[in-house]
Symmetry: C2
Subunit: 333 residues, 2 copies
């Protein structure tokens, strides 16, 4: 049975800290296709709870990429029946992936920074001003007066760095930098983390990027770029999964572009779309019209059809937004 | 007459603040081929001095790229005879470019963070632990109890962000983030600054990058990559100057590479070499052997010859370092 909106109770930071202290056995759920923030939040919370003698497991529907191994270590075995279920950085139960069936309707507490959080959990601690869920976890561990060990600090730094493009994006606040500064006290290894997260490209990815640049299409007076990654390119180079995220980064970096679109083939007639926009364009609006969703600056959708059909639909939707823009109408942020 | 080492007097932060308060007319020199840190430091100091009623000019041997226009504005006219001469982020008088002739031997105060500073000025405030000279300027303006206006704050944020790869590199400290956090109080526009500094690539640069990727040579078990930018490529794409810095960034981002070399043709038989290394390799050591210098992780040199001669010499020097590494000998950091 799905929890209705009305029965999701929002907690304060203090209440959330109390809630965690009150219970003893935890299963911490991260979202599927895990990124640095959901993993960082999950593991930092795990390390914090361990420091005060709790039992906790961190689980994820998908394989955790090896690049996170510097803070991802074995966690406890916890019986679902006895556990308090926590979801971190999970905006909707559908994002739990294959864990949704077991856990989707029994999440006790969700800790999140997505303003779009669908309130699927019994309790919710939401701070939409936080750049990353890891920012919240830091405040929570401080509120709980829990010792922050190096693993926890590395995990939180990772989440904050990856969700902010290493402090580049508009979601960064004075508080974000203050927390980063504090994390340096706990023996973190930021230069190495950033090298792994931002400055490491495989030779095959360099090769894929060259191929993708050949597909570049510019629309609407060069304000929109569309980059395509076909299944063939992925096969030829051996690039897949999160490696392909760099294509979206390229799409948002071209001078004059305010709408970067990358289309990644995921099946014979299935494509994953990544949208990156600059104000006054709103990626979330475009994502929704394409059947997906996301944030104001970064959103996505999954679409079916041939590559050219998918492109056509994207161009139509983006075109309407550009027209509205040119007419001086922009959607509220 | 060149100032000898012995007559360069090091000041404390407090003494530096007093020195600035005591004088009234300033010429602030930035280094040639200006970057975000030297410009940020020069202009932030300018804005700070203006706040307390001083007269100051900021000058640079080279044209200041338009991308810095959000904080680079007109400064005062100051007569050299009457002025106190300050150099910011200038490690040696040769880096003043065409300003060296007039100012090289009459710099009163140099404010710098390069440990290699050659002590060419009468007074020196050096903090080699600062990630950027702008970090020092922030502390100096605070010490002087000078109002920090938005122009000054944007300038300092720019210097810190650009010298740290937006908080990515190993020169970042807890203090760096603390200052960044403080700068958010002064109305800075970091998302926009970072977009300009890090996430804006012209179409012609994307095209150049594709060409350069074709030149990639791997050496020493793929631990060294050499990328070349010929004069022809620069002509064909129209890319030049600081735009080419992105090539060095690529060279340091390839998985497994600990020595990224980029060779940029600057004349018929002249090449500018950029070196980017990871520990235990030391870019400064390699740079020195090639006739240049720099920091542990980033250094450079200018070399003459044909492209293949230059490459050969680089491979020899890097090869010796790799051999030493394999034999377990690394240079002290």
């Amino acid at each position: 049975m799905e929890n209705a909106d009305t029965i999701c109770k929002e907690l304060s930071l203090r209440e959330t800290a109390k809630f965690l202290k009150k219970h003893d056995n935890f299963i911490i759920l991260t979202h599927s296709s895990p990124d640095g923030d959901t993993l960082g939040a999950g593991y930092a919370l795990f390390y914090g709870l361990k420091e005060i003698g709790k039992i906790a497991a961190v689980i994820c529907a998908d394989v955790i990429p090896g690049k996170y191994n510097y803070f991802v270590h074995e966690t406890d075995n916890v019986d679902v029946e006895e556990a308090t279920i926590i979801a971190v950085d999970v905006a909707a139960k559908g994002l739990l992936g294959s864990l949704e069936e077991t856990f989707g309707d029994i999440v006790d507490l969700c800790i999140d920074h997505h303003i779009s959080n669908s309130r699927f959990s019994k309790y919710l601690y939401l701070d939409a001003d936080a750049s990353a869920t890891c920012e919240i976890i830091f405040e929570l561990l401080e509120e709980m007066k829990v010792n922050i060990n190096t693993n926890a600090a590395n995990a939180m730094y990772t989440g904050i760095a990856t969700d902010t493009g290493c402090f580049k994006y508009s979601n960064v606040t004075a508080k974000t930098h203050m927390i980063a500064s504090r994390l340096y006290e706990y023996g973190i290894d930021p230069a190495n983390i950033n090298k792994i997260m931002f400055d490491t490209k495989s030779r095959r990815l360099l090769e894929l990027e060259r191929m993708v640049l050949d597909t570049a299409e510019y629309h609407f007076d060069n304000r929109c770029i569309i980059l395509s990654v076909t299944a063939e390119m992925q096969e030829q180079t051996g690039c897949s999964g999160s490696e392909l995220e760099s294509i979206a980064i390229i799409s948002r970096s071209v001078e004059g572009v305010i709408c970067g679109v990358s289309i990644k083939q995921t099946g014979s007639d299935t494509f994953k779309i990544s949208l990156r926009t600059y104000p006054p364009l709103n990626a979330s609006d475009i994502g929704k019209e394409l059947g997906g969703g996301g944030h104001a600056a970064a959103a996505g959708a999954t679409m079916n059809g041939t590559l050219s059909e998918v492109k056509q639909r994207i161009i139509e939707v983006v075109g309407r937004k550009m027209e509205a823009l040119d007419a001086g109408i922009s959607s509220p942020r």
